[in-house]
């Protein structure tokens, strides 16, 4: 890329300074882009910063806010580099445009994979530093002094010797006419005044007075609201609908039928639901009517008999096994399926008009949203405008847009804006599924209790193969499925082998908070605990002894152990479990303390977490992600029971698919280990660490080892 293409400055309306940056794309995308522009380098900026004469700064943010705090932490980086108060920055959601706004980590315009801070750290700091340098140059030019004679603070340039000041707003139009400085380095982190301090979130106030608008809050002139139903059997089709009783409900306007869903359109959702309940639908249950969780699990376990794709092959397992005095440990684990259940049910508002379509929703994937609509209508992607909102919970569910396609099949039949809202029952029964995995674990221990070889064979759905096949390379394992499968430990021989196997069509597997490391961290750390028991070693000491190559993980483990009182005596049927994980550029250790009652109820008493996520841009948000992530993980490991029988998801709402409640929430102590490394992701690691810590704590409390979850109380009775 030509250097001059890096940044362009223009004058916006009313004397604004508009900086547009073209940031480096990932290797593959950069190649494609270079090819496309070989005839004459087109400038396609992907970071926009606008400074108004009032001093107000607008940053067009390519990431979405779904609770993780990115709409505060990313502006913090910009405010730091520009030397402006955080409150002077407003974020504006970027439109759907993959060419410009793809997350460089993925080459796709998606928010997920704990990657926003990782991507923004590289992108936003240099952009902010360059803007600041240009404003300084504009002031120096005005005062006829050198840039080195100027300093910046609080959105102003100050001439150091005289104390003369000019605000950024006043300098904006002049800055827009000056040459662009090259390679402006971001600040030395030692000079940070804002990054690393606990800043208040910019979106909190509007979330306490009801004024935040989520996608579901869309209201448009002439809009109607639809309640929908799918066939109870996933993948079934509509055969016949008797809508006479539904149409008689007051407020119901239309009944719309697509091949696999029926929608009742009404003036308000209350009437739509009442109408939906009055429909008589004859379903063709289709090919999945005999499918069940048991069948799914059997097919996944069966797949382990096949040869898979080897993603790691180091050392010689057979030789290690044959060494004298070696003990071999072989066990099988599995991880259950689950749905996301964000509190804002799936919804979108669509308006097909004039050969175009507008869609209002909160999505992690605006371009997928366009594609889903285009796939079921005659409207091309470029005529589909996505109006994105703050998201009422994503957790990976809103990385997919198949539900938007479903809604579009109904909305394209009418000429008014149609808001389609899933009931909680539809949300749970027709969600997307966390893959069910099975794992074959094996390891060898030498007579001194050191692990000499480790093998992990896993099977389950490849989400990447469906979601982003361009990420796959021939003969190479799905990188998400095997992430963290090899353990962070120093072991001379390691093998990881992955066998992809898919459930029947209709059961769409999807990313779920924690993705690959959530599954692999669980089985690897559960197994590690078993190896410690076999070696008659303390679980913390055993891990430390194998963490030679990983000082950051060692440090968090030592911190968590010390802060939790690891090793101090506990009452009967009370235990502590430990787990560590290194993923998304972050390092975490957790000690969980719990008690098991004689009738098998589990009381989680205390979680002690130590996290090294590199620079914690907004430490309070990082702690919040740990707290929330831990509760998400506890819900999964203690309560997460989603089962399929006769092709139907058997759970339907929060009475039978419960979430953790406040009165079940344990004490949580989160310790951030200071680090100057680049920020890692924190949105998922707090979830992924929970299952192994919990299962290991159950072992410590009861002496019973579990290799699957959730664990029924009957299995824990004294």
């Amino acid at each position: 890329m030509e250097r001059r293409d890096f940044l362009k400055i223009g004058a916006g309306t009313g004397g604004a300074f508009v900086a547009s940056f073209c940031l480096p794309l990932p290797a593959g995308a950069a190649k494609a882009s270079a090819k496309a522009s070989a005839g004459g380098a087109a400038f396609e900026p992907n970071v926009y910063i606008r400074i108004a004469p009032s001093g107000k700064i607008t940053y067009v943010i390519p990431f979405v806010e779904m609770g993780q705090g990115s709409f505060t932490a990313i502006p913090m980086m910009l405010a730091e580099e520009m030397d402006v108060p955080l409150s002077s920055i407003t974020v504006e959601q970027a439109p759907a445009d993959e060419k410009r706004y793809a997350n460089p980590v993925f080459g796709m315009q998606i928010t997920g994979g704990s990657a926003s801070m990782i991507a923004a750290w590289k992108a936003v700091r240099g952009a902010g530093a360059t803007c600041r340098a240009m404003l300084v140059n504009a002031a120096a030019d005005t005062w006829q002094c050198g840039a080195q004679d100027c300093a910046t603070r609080d959105g102003k340039v100050v001439q150091t010797a005289t104390g003369k000041q000019l605000s950024y707003g006043a300098l904006a139009s002049k800055a827009a006419t000056l040459p662009v400085p090259k390679d402006v380095p971001p600040k030395d982190p030692k000079a940070y005044r804002l990054v690393g301090t606990p800043a208040k979130r910019l979106d909190t106030k509007s979330k306490t007075d009801g004024s935040t608008r989520f996608g579901i809050d869309t209201r448009l002139p002439g809009m109607k609201v639809a309640a929908i139903t799918h066939c109870p059997v996933v993948g079934g089709k509509v055969r016949r609908v008797d809508d006479s009783k539904a149409l008689a409900v007051r407020g119901v306007r239309r009944v719309l039928v697509a091949d696999d869903i029926v929608g009742v359109v009404a003036d308000h959702y209350g009437a739509a639901r009442k109408g939906l309940a009055a429909l008589v639908i004859d379903w063709d249950e289709g090919p999945n009517a005999g499918f069940s969780t048991a069948a799914w699990k059997a097919s996944v376990r069966d797949a382990l008999k096949r040869k898979g794709i080897v993603s790691k092959q180091e050392g010689d397992f057979a030789a290690a096994k044959a060494a004298p005095g070696t003990r071999l440990v072989e066990v099988e684990y599995d991880a259950p399926t689950m749905v996301h259940a964000p509190l804002e049910p799936m919804n979108c508002t669509l308006h097909f008009h004039d050969g175009a379509c507008d869609v209002w929703l909160g999505t992690q994937a605006p371009v997928k949203t366009q594609q889903a609509i285009a796939a079921v209508s005659s409207v091309p992607v470029e005529k589909i405008q996505v109006h994105n909102f703050l998201i009422g919970g994503g957790f990976g569910r809103r990385l997919d847009a198949e539900y938007v396609g479903q809604a579009a099949k109904l909305a394209k039949q009418v000429d008014f804006p149609l808001k389609v809202v899933y009931s909680r029952e539809e949300d749970i029964r027709h969600g997307s599924f966390r893959p069910l995995y099975c794992d074959e674990m094996a390891a060898t221990l030498d007579p001194a209790g050191k692990i000499t070889a480790f093998s992990h064979r896993l099977s389950g759905s490849s989400i990447v193969a469906r979601y982003a096949p361009q990420w796959l390379q021939p003969g190479v394992a799905d990188p998400d499925a095997v992430e963290a499968a090899e353990t962070p430990y120093s072991i001379p021989a390691k093998t990881v082998e992955y066998v992809p196997v898919e459930p029947p069509s209709g059961y769409m597997t999807a990313f779920w908070r924690g993705v690959g490391p959530n599954h692999n961290g669980w089985v690897v750390e559960g197994f590690m605990d078993e190896l410690a028991v076999t070696a008659k070693a303390d679980p913390v000491a055993f891990r430390l002894a194998h963490l030679g190559d990983n000082p950051r993980l060692k440090a968090v483990l030592e911190t968590a152990a010390a802060k939790s009182g690891w090793g101090t005596p506990l009452p009967a049927r009370t235990g502590r479990g430990v787990a560590v994980l290194n993923a998304w550029g972050s390092h975490i250790a957790m000690v969980m303390e719990l008690a098991v009652t004689p009738d098998g109820a589990v009381m989680v008493r205390r979680l002690t977490t130590a996290l090294d996520c590199g620079v914690a841009v907004n430490p309070d948000s990082v702690v919040a992600q740990m707290e929330g992530g831990h509760i998400f993980g506890l819900t999964a490991v203690m309560l997460g029971q989603l089962t399929i029988d006769k092709g139907r998801v058997q759970q339907s709402n929060f009475h039978d698919y419960p979430l953790m409640r406040i009165d079940q929430t344990p004490r949580m102590d989160v310790h951030l280990v200071r680090s100057s490394a680049e920020p890692g992701g924190v949105g998922e690691i707090g979830t992924a660490i929970v299952a192994p810590a919990y299962i290991n704590a159950l072992y410590a409390a009861t002496g019973k080892r579990f290799r699957s979850y959730p664990v029924a109380p009957e299995e824990l009775k004294a």
Partner: protein
């Protein structure tokens, strides 16, 4: 039929079936979207409003049951001293993550402090256990309520 409802101090006339849940009257008819839909069966508390000061799950409360009672929603709860203190505590503790459940959390918290100005931690857990938060903001909800309670005027 038409119902005359007193919502946030204003009389509103709505023409819907009597069994229509109050939630949809608020959100889709009156246009007060701060009150949220989460489950439709009073399991999550996202739709909590006050009816004559008492917390009610509006998704399961028919409009015909409102009668002359005053309905207060998240949009107006900040006009009460307790509401103001709770909202301030929510900001001080940076409670929300995605924020979707927080209207209901705040309405339940306000009802708690109105009935019990100095709740213990166990009281908070008991009163708030009907409100789900998928993001897991419970520790901060707890500390924000205790903080708001500590700022309560002394009884007397």
């Amino acid at each position: 039929m038409a119902y005359q409802l007193k919502i946030n101090g204003t009389m509103r006339s709505v023409d819907v079936d009597g069994d229509t849940p109050l939630l949809w009257v608020l959100r889709d008819v009156v246009g007060l979207t701060g009150t949220k839909f989460g489950c439709g069966m009073a399991m999550c508390g996202a739709c909590t409003v006050h009816v004559d000061g008492n917390p009610v799950r509006s998704c399961s409360f028919p409009v015909e049951a409102v009668g002359k009672q005053a309905v207060t929603t998240i949009e107006a709860v900040g006009q009460t001293p307790v509401g103001k203190r709770i909202q301030a505590a929510w900001v001080a503790k940076d409670v929300p993550q995605c924020g979707y459940c927080q209207s209901g959390q705040i309405m339940s918290a306000c009802a708690l402090l109105r009935q019990n100005p100095r709740p213990s931690e166990a009281d908070v857990d008991a009163a708030m256990s009907g409100n789900l938060c998928r993001c897991g903001t419970y520790p901060r909800i707890r500390s924000a309520i205790l903080m708001a309670a500590a700022g309560a005027p002394a009884k007397g």
